[in-house]
Subunit: 126 residues, 2 copies
């Protein structure tokens, strides 16, 4: 059998509450992962898509953060209410949810505006 | 800045010791992830390659298991002694370490011979 068609990693990292960057655990990361897993099973995606919790994805200011591979699509500020759309649009229909997507200017850089940087974003609702 | 060039997820899932499938935590998963992270930093890969711990990758009989994205390359039975080769060959030179690679017939299926299944493998050393 082939490996998973898509593999989702949801950050559930817990930091000390005093940490200035915050953490995904404090933003409901574990519940979001559990709810996503349950919704995917209900959608019949078990065996073709897997959703795992992960350690710190280092996108703390964008939490709850998740990444979908092999696409390499990063989502930020994900809430429980967003799960259904991610599953339907991205994991079933193959269309990433643009409104939740983190632009390259945000991922993996301290120059991201959410970290106090100065990079210009083309990011609407965030 | 672009997202990570490669993203490694190492299973560190802990199961009850009596579980018949075993678990990666009992096979040194956490130490392997820590050692890999340290070795990658030493190799100057911080910022371009990230190594995270993950929850159960559901390849328990192949532990310690890891997956490298976006390549979608799965490794099984990884030991501390294998880390240097994975970093040098795959993460730096882009050549997966074939001797550690899990074939598709092993990943994501209960028919895998390591789970008591009957699929024929072209797998040398495992």
């Amino acid at each position: 059998m082939a490996p998973y068609r898509r593999h989702v990693f949801v950050c559930t990292n817990q930091r000390d509450p005093s940490h200035p960057r915050g953490c995904c655990a404090d933003k409901d990361g574990a519940n979001i992962r559990e709810a996503m897993k349950a919704a995917m099973e209900q959608a019949g995606l078990s065996g073709t898509v897997r959703v795992n919790k992960s350690g710190c994805l280092d996108q703390c200011e964008h939490g709850v953060t998740m990444v979908v591979y092999p696409d390499g699509v990063w989502y930020g500020f994900v809430k429980l209410a967003d799960i259904e759309e991610i599953i339907r649009s991205h994991l079933i229909d193959g269309e990433p949810v643009e409104r939740l997507r983190l632009p390259d200017a945000c991922v993996n850089t301290s120059r991201c505006p959410h970290r106090g940087g100065t990079v210009q974003l083309g990011l609407g609702g965030l």
